[in-house]
Amino acid sequence: MRRPRIPRPLLAAAAVLPVLCASACTGGSAEADAGRGPVHITFWSALRGSQEVVDAYNKTHDDIHVDFQQVPSGAQGGYAKLSNAARAGNAPDVATIEYPQLPEFAIDGVARDISPMVGKRLREKLLPQAFSLTTFENRVFSVPLDVEPMVLIYRKDLFKAAGVQPPRTWGEFEDAARTVKKERPHSRIVNLPTDGGPHLAALSWQAGARWFDTRGGAWHVSLTDAPTRKVMTYWQRLIDRDLVFANPGESQQGDAQLGNGEVLAKLTGAWDAGALMSSYPEQKGKWAVAPMPQWDPDKPRVGTLGGSTFAVTKDSRNPKAAMDFIEWQVTSPDALRARLSSGLSSQYPAAPGLLPTARKAMDTSFFGGQDIYRTFRREAELISGPWMWGPRMTATLKTVQDGSARASAGSGSLLEALREGQRATMPDLEALGLRTTESRN
């Protein structure tokens, strides 16, 4: 935590005020009730279905009561809200933090070191790949809820009409892209979103990239290592030959492209299946999930896109209760059922023991009854690589996105966007006093 020594600007004060009020109320009641009645803990999340999960927890637990507050997603202000609250000493007991942002909240001291509270029982229930992304210097800073292997979600009907099979390799993907363009001149196989920094990360991750590395006791930054260069050269070629779209994904244009079938497929995290179901209900039965195309089919690998973790904050007065709630959320079938019952989520749980529950709870008629969780599981097993997120990932990804937006407007390239991202990241890390090294390519 970097504490300001100057009166905070008005904007920030305005952002903190409602927080102060909210947690002052709940905080007070927690203290008063400490002796008798349930312990109150506060929980912030932007995840779909969280309210249902909290209701299910409160119904079945008498000793702990969770006060839930839906917050905006991280980029929409959820993370700013969390760090402002932490600076004011009023962070909730349990906060939801996505993988890329966890290092920054751990470094800033918002997420507490929970290693002593993570028991063997909990550890054994969760995928080790997931835990490795929440562990830094042998200290655990949060508990993974879901891991989201990147998959290819595609329009089965339009693929068939264009005479295209789901590609197994990136070579086949390029051929398929060409066929789609020939058969449907106004359509493309995918949109590589210019606002999709995490997409570029997931695609590089799959090829074995390692943007951040702490093995030498310093943050080694290398956003343009050899695997990344291979991936970016590939996609740049597809963009230059007009075989894929390159425009913002989280936009009216992006929505319209999916809605009217101009974009035939999406490279995205498993969770997105649920989002598609709720966004385009009229396309029920037309979609399917396929494994990621591979660079080397003999050595298949997959990166992840999305996924959330739960952290106990430094301000929590009841870390034990907070951990109890977290453990229930990530391992209990009741929690998963409640979350999926909202009909908006198709998360892939970090606890493999929950898979049968997920399979049963999920209505897959949108995917023509396909057993999508079986595909997810196969892909989740392929998540590999020594991937690590950086200490200021929101800012790094934002500068990469700024660069790729300029690239799509004809100035620069994807690779140049990553170079810019690295150049903009280094001064930040140095000013934070972190030990850093970098390699530029």
Partner: protein, 336 residues
């Protein structure tokens, strides 16, 4: 010509120099007793009248500036990777080194420089031209024209940006729509159009305001001077450019300086546009960089250092402009 120019410039300059001591010129030399009593009364009145100003200056400027300077030299450091416990340490110029080596900050300065180069000449020339036209009496409905031009200034910057954003956004904008029907596709928020788009918003907001300043200055030009120039054979254009404009030179310099300082603080318009076009990044201008450093990156040392750099640049540029205007002012007078 030479007498009129220097006569008009010198009183103006003497006026600003003596502005803080009103009444001084009225006190005649040779009456020492009354002079000191008057002086202490004067000082007391000055103190009371100016106290609110100094209280505000201290609380909203001097103290924050010192806070920012202090913040820029200290940091809560954790050794190595940063996951350990932190302690506050003196870091010297580390944050400054980081800011000045950050290509995104330097790019922001570049954007601001380009904005200044486009905006200031455009604004000064356009406002001056309008003021001269109004002053020449060529316009009927002078009051209406003045009001119409001034009104946009009453619209807060954020509202102005919203209005223009609506006019710029394809699919919403009637302008883009009509142009589209005429087979003209324009992207008013594109890579090369977004800066002119911001200049346009600023022009719309500030043109009338600065025109009023120039117009007021023109009203103060002695009519007999203009009459003299007309008798000497100057036409309306010549009288405007060779007589009126040199006489309101101090207003020109003041407007340029205030516009410069305002432009270095460019924030509201690009911040709002950044919601709608990826061509405006989160660190588009130095002020946006500072905001991003503090509230997205939680890097207060970096934000403070960037603020101090911006403040220093503003002071240096303002000083440069006033020195330059003084220096170019003097020889011109001698030449004529």
């Amino acid at each position: 010509m030479s007498t009129t120019t220097s006569a008009a410039t010198h009183p103006a300059r003497a006026g600003t120099a003596d502005g803080l001591r009103p009444g001084r010129r009225g006190a005649l030399p040779g009456k020492p007793g009354t002079r000191s009593a008057a002086r202490s009364r004067e000082l007391g009145a000055c103190g009371v009248l100016m106290a609110p100003f100094f209280v505000l200056l201290l609380t909203v400027f001097v103290i924050p500036v010192f806070g920012a300077v202090q913040l820029s030299f200290f940091s809560d450091d954790q050794p190595g990777l940063g996951f350990g416990p932190e302690r506050t340490v003196f870091v010297g110029l580390r944050s400054y080194q980081a800011v000045l080596s950050d290509p995104t900050f330097l790019a922001g300065l570049g954007v601001t420089a380009l904005y200044l180069v486009i905006y200031i000449p455009l604004l000064v020339v356009a406002a001056l031209a309008l003021a001269l036209i109004l002053d020449s009496g060529a316009v009927r409905l002078r009051r209406t024209a003045q009001l119409g031009l001034f009104l946009p200034h009453a619209v807060p910057g954020i509202i102005a940006a919203v209005i223009w954003l609506y006019l710029y956004t394809p699919g919403l904008s009637p302008v883009v729509d009509i142009l589209g029907k005429a087979d003209i596709t324009v992207d008013l928020l594109g890579l090369h159009t977004v800066l002119p788009a911001i200049v346009n918003i600023a022009m719309w907001s500030n043109l009338g305001y600065n025109m009023v300043i120039f117009y007021a200055a023109l009203q103060a030009v002695p009519r007999e001077v203009i009459e003299a120039s007309v008798i000497d054979g100057a036409g309306p254009v010549r009288a405007a450019l060779r007589v009126k404009v040199p006489l309101i030179r101090p207003s020109l310099v003041m407007v340029a300086m205030f516009t410069l300082i305002g432009a270095l603080q460019l924030f509201t318009e690009p911040m709002l546009l950044s919601q709608s076009t990826p061509m405006v990044g989160s660190r588009f201008t130095p002020n946006m960089y500072i905001f991003d450093a503090a509230f997205t990156r939680n890097n207060y040392g970096l934000a403070a250092a960037a603020s101090v750099v911006l403040l220093a640049a503003t002071i240096a540029l303002s000083y440069g402009v006033s020195r330059w205007s003084n220096r170019t002012g003097t020889p011109q007078e001698d030449d004529r």
